[in-house]
């Protein structure tokens, strides 16, 4: 059992204060959904936890199993078991999906003092590619290079499946996907939670994902604060009545 704890986290980008004392506790096997309007601070919360340079923490803590994440560089946070699925994944022309996954997994194994097993890697990659409904030739393409929106999202989930972090924060993994894509990704996530006990934080502003994924907790963000926390019913409430009820101003 692992625990990701965000406690009273405040952060700013440049001189603009974005996050105000955000708290959130995620345990292994839990699915949390963070909802909120554009500009409510959801993405900044995700990138701040992962350690993006442009975000400066001005107060609070972020720990994984008690160890201080904020003291670590982004790659060390990844080694500690954190994963961030990007809303807009970056392309890496000239480096294939297969090469990239191999390098990332090697780095992870080295950091954790584990042996990297090439044959197991190949088999796992094949399985993950199939599970996401992709052709095996996908692994020989440049990472996110010329990928469609849907392929990019699948690529994020493919990495998640391969890297097996303790916690995954997925920023709008559902945007730009058709129904089939959405189902496919939801199935993969449910499977990860069931088998790997991954703790998942889904950032979204569309409730559609809730048809296929059942969250344990739903949090509403507004103006850089968590303004409400509840169960699945909170998301339904949003779907029917919108965010206005939570707008603090």
């Amino acid at each position: 059992m692992h625990t990701l704890t965000i406690h009273n986290l405040s952060a700013q980008i440049g001189v603009q204060k974005i996050l105000h004392e955000v708290s959130l506790t995620v345990k292994s096997g839990e699915i949390h959904i963070i909802m909120g309007q554009n500009g409510s601070g959801k993405s900044t919360l995700a990138t701040t936890i992962m350690g993006r340079q442009d975000s400066t923490v001005t107060g609070g803590q972020a720990t994984l199993d008690g160890s201080d994440l904020l003291a670590l560089a982004p790659h060390q946070r990844a080694h500690a078991g954190l994963f961030l699925g990007f809303q807009y994944p970056m392309a890496l022309p000239g480096v294939t999906v297969s090469q990239f996954m191999r390098l990332a997994l090697r780095a992870l194994c080295t950091a954790r003092g584990l042996e990297f097993k090439s044959t197991e890697f190949n088999a796992e990659l094949q399985n993950a590619v199939s599970a996401l409904g992709l052709d095996q030739s996908f692994t020989q393409r440049g990472l996110n290079d010329g990928f469609s929106g849907g392929e990019k999202k699948r690529m994020e989930v493919l990495q998640l499946m391969m890297l097996k972090p303790h916690f995954a924060i997925l920023d709008e993994i559902d945007s730009g996907l058709d129904i089939d894509g959405l189902k496919c990704i939801a199935n993969a996530l449910n499977e990860l939670v069931r088998t790997q006990k991954t703790g998942v934080v889904l950032i979204t502003h569309y409730p559609a994902l809730l048809k296929t994924i059942t969250p344990h907790f739903v949090h509403i963000m507004s103006s850089g604060r968590v303004v409400a926390t509840g169960g699945e019913e909170l998301a339904r409430n949003i779907a029917e009545h919108g965010y206005a009820q939570f707008t603090t101003i």
């Binding site: 442009d54 790659h75 990844a78 970056m90 000239g94 990332a104």
Partner: protein, 472 residues
């Protein structure tokens, strides 16, 4: 140690000067005086026992050299002091460089690249010849059975004077530029390769396999003649830094690609960062022939090099793949030149440069289509990647199109490694140095995949080393 000089041929060792240990003053009497004079050239030619016509050619070239101004474009050449250079050192009087005198950073790079001990010493100029008699003999037999001539250029002049004279200075005349004139006056060493009609050599030929010759010389002269329908791949250089105390490397490479023949010429230069690398490389390509230049420039203080192909007959093709890395104190001014002389000729120039740590990379290219070269096709693409704000990239493309019905296209891009791209890779567990080198590797991939495997592997490791340095 594979360098015991057993019963080597009695010919002198060419490309003298390169590996010589000029740093040892007590042996100063063993070499010709600094600076270039008629006397230096005469004694050089006499020592080599050259035919009279070669001495005359050298002296004529020397006159041209004296008259020609330095190029007013490209890099800064003002610091070259032609009077402060050695132009020839007799091979039997060469002094071994002391391994202890090789700069620490070069030794360290050797170690980190895992270069074998014997090769290290050779590359640093401190060891004896690095070669393997067994490998050499096998390859030589394999080649001579097919009628291939593969010799150092000095030996070729002796053994095949007629063939030599027929082609020498026909592709790159002395008057082409100041440095081709200089080379024509003082050349020593280099490779001579003749492939007979219809013969294909699948093994990449390296100067490495040639006994008694350094892999790279200071004023080397290389002449390759690919007769009709033949194929050869010639490679030179290596990714480990080649250390020399001499600061000017000025080579000339002339290639003749006959009807239907194909020549690929791959260079990776990693001269130490005190060297001016000013090289003229050109090929004449006849009907349906193909000349492919793969040119990687990693080392030197300043490189000015634009491998070129003159497409003389219908169906001739020429390609240049150029890769440049410019770090601290370096200026890589490189690219390619294609001259379309005949109709239905085609060409491609692809250039990728990386500048980092205050380095400067310039792409300089010329595509010229003469009025007769109708239906010429040409594609040029040059991409620059700049790794930090202290570094610089420029593009100087020249297109001179004078024929009708041509298909000419040019693409250029300049990019930087974005914070978001780095963060993405870091979030997957790669540290910053690895993330940067991965981006660089990906950027160079279209060219690296064309390199022989061992070059590609070494190059990737080298990039990794440089990136670690760049991040600090």
């Amino acid at each position: 140690m594979p360098n015991s000089p057993q019963s080597k041929p009695t010919t002198f060792s060419p490309s003298a000067g390169y590996a010589a240990g000029f740093a040892m003053p007590e042996r100063a009497h063993a070499k010709s005086p600094k600076g270039l004079t008629r006397e230096v050239i005469e004694s050089l030619s006499a020592y080599k026992q050259e035919p009279a016509w070669m001495l005359t050619a050298r002296l004529n070239a020397f006159e041209i050299f004296k008259q020609k101004p330095l190029p007013a474009w490209g890099g800064d050449l003002s610091k070259i002091d032609f009077n402060d250079l050695y132009y020839y050192v007799r091979p039997d009087e060469r002094v071994q460089q002391n391994w202890d005198d090789v700069p620490a950073d070069i030794k360290e790079t050797f170690d980190r690249l895992g270069v074998p001990e014997a090769e290290k010493q050779f590359l640093s100029g401190s060891g004896a010849q690095y070669d393997s008699e067994a490998v050499y003999h096998n390859i030589q037999k394999h080649l001579t059975d097919k009628g291939i001539i593969f010799l150092d250029t000095d030996s070729a002049l002796k053994k095949y004077p007629e063939l030599f004279k027929e082609y020498f200075v026909t592709v790159v005349p002395p008057a082409d530029n100041k440095f081709s004139a200089l080379n024509s006056a003082v050349w020593s060493g280099g490779s001579f390769l003749y492939i007979p009609k219809g013969v294909r050599v699948d093994l990449p030929l390296q100067a490495y396999f040639r006994i008694n010759t350094e892999r790279m010389g200071q004023f080397e002269r290389t002449l390759i003649i690919a007769d009709e329908g033949s194929y050869a791949h010639y490679t030179e250089g290596c990714t480990a830094p080649a250390y020399t105390t001499n600061s000017l490397h000025s080579a000339v490479v002339e290639i003749v690609v006959r009807r239907g023949a194909r020549v690929r010429y791959t260079t990776i230069q990693n001269w130490s960062k005190n060297v001016y690398n000013l090289v003229t490389k050109r090929a004449h390509v006849y009907a349906d022939g193909l000349m492919e230049w793969v040119d990687g420039n990693l080392g030197s203080a300043l490189t000015m090099k634009y491998p070129s192909a003159v497409l003389l007959e219908s169906g001739a093709r020429g390609t240049v793949l150029s890769l440049a890395m410019a770090g601290d104190g370096q200026h890589q001014d490189s690219g390619g030149k294609i001259i379309h002389v005949a109709p239905h000729t085609s060409s491609m120039i692809i250039s990728k440069s990386i500048s980092y740590g205050g380095g400067r990379a310039s792409y300089r290219g010329l595509v010229k289509v003469t009025p007769k070269a109708e239906h010429a096709r040409c594609f040029v693409s040059c991409d620059a990647l700049i790794l930090d704000t202290a570094s610089r990239a420029d593009t100087y493309p020249t297109m001179d199109i004078r024929a009708r019905d041509c298909d000419i296209s040019h693409e250029a891009s300049v990019s930087k490694i974005g914070e978001e791209q780095l963060f993405y890779l870091q979030s997957r567990g790669l540290d910053e140095a690895n993330a940067r080198s991965l981006i660089v590797n990906g950027f160079l991939e279209p060219i690296v995949k064309e390199l022989p495997m061992e070059y590609a592997v070494e190059l990737n490791r080298l990039i990794q080393l440089e990136m670690q340095g760049a991040v600090g």
